[in-house]
Amino acid sequence: MESVVNRAATAAPMASREVRWTTVGVAGLVLLVAAQVYGVLTSPPDRDMGHLQKIMYVHVPAAWNAMLAFLLVALASLRYLWKGRLADDLLAASAAEVGMLLTGLTLALGMIWGKPTWGIWWTWEPRLTSTAVLFFMFVAYLILRTFVDDAERRAQWSAVVGLLGALNVPIVYMSVRWWRTLHQMQSSPMTLDSSYTWPLRANAVALMLLMAYAVAHRYRSALMTQTADELMDRLALKGTPGGSRA
């Protein structure tokens, strides 16, 4: 296995990379505020649900970006299984954290929308059920990680669970087409007034930037934690007699 320590050391321009990612994060935040204001001020109330329609500007971008994050989990997990680099496992874990948060946000906002629209908070129909399964698989994924101490074993188990979890993404996406659901099918520019499509797209891009920033931030801190752990281990192994290990 390639040492994370070496990897962190060779990734020399860490500082400039950090500045770059901070720029992405700030850009995302500014765009998110602008897109929300744009959406609230310019889009008319829907003829059935009125301003309840505005929930779409967070619910849908959160769902899309959660799927992107889980796609990243799948790619990083696959690459870990292929190459065995611990850094890929840490990237998968970082993306899983962000994806789980966004899925939770999607579910919560969906319920808040569902109560006044459908008349119920929740029902076990295919789209809702598959999304809940997706959410809880990644909760389990993150819990699993805290239970395994050995980094390499944790990475192997996580990669398998992460891949299984990510397998749910196409199922969640296609559920409204494959099966007869209470949840509507995906809207398209054909079924969405243009006054709704642009705020939706702007919010999706803004949240994507924030998602990328969050994953990068968690990945960087995970790399540093791993590096610190490895250095501690080395120190412990060399263990000068009488030396402090704290």
Binding site: S43, P45, D48, V160, L182, T191
Partner: protein
């Protein structure tokens, strides 16, 4: 080192088999038949006596002009249509606020020999269309696609 690589390959193969197996199960397993959240009026009619007395979900569109609402007794009667068949539904209590002619609905309840569906729970099924109201436009039009587009794609 070589046993390490071997173990990693084993994990990779097992993961691949699980993923491929899950996909095959989804594609070939005929899950699609079991994942219908509701039955259409045509399907429920076709089941006939088989469906009587069981709790089922019926979904479709509120047949335009069929709504009879008695605000005093909170008694609601309407017909659910899929364009081909219609079923009479009886419900107690105020419906969700978006309930109206032409709206997509799913009702949970029992269908009986009296040919009336006794609804215990009434849900609105919103379509994927979002429109700003336009002057002179009839709101019902947007729900035509709900039934016609049902699983057609």
């Amino acid at each position: 080192m070589s046993s390490d690589t071997g173990r990693r390959t084993a994990v990779f193969v097992i993961a691949g088999v699980i993923v491929a197996g899950a996909f095959a199960y989804l594609m070939l397993g005929g899950i699609e038949d079991n994942l219908e959240y509701f039955k259409t009026p045509a399907e429920l009619t076709q089941l006939g006596p088989e469906a009587y007395g069981k709790t089922v979900r019926l979904g479709g569109q509120v047949a335009p002009g069929s709504v009879k609402w008695d605000a005093a007794s909170l008694d609601l009667r309407f017909r659910v249509t899929d364009g081909a068949q219609e079923i009479e539904v009886h419900s107690k209590g105020a419906p969700p606020q978006m309930f109206r002619d032409g709206m997509g609905v799913v009702v949970i309840g029992r269908y009986g020999a009296g040919k009336v569906f006794e609804s215990k729970e009434l849900m609105i099924r919103h379509s994927e269309e979002y429109r700003a109201p336009k002057p002179g436009e009839r709101p019902q039009e947007m729900y035509r696609s709900l039934i016609k587009g049902e699983k057609a794609s």
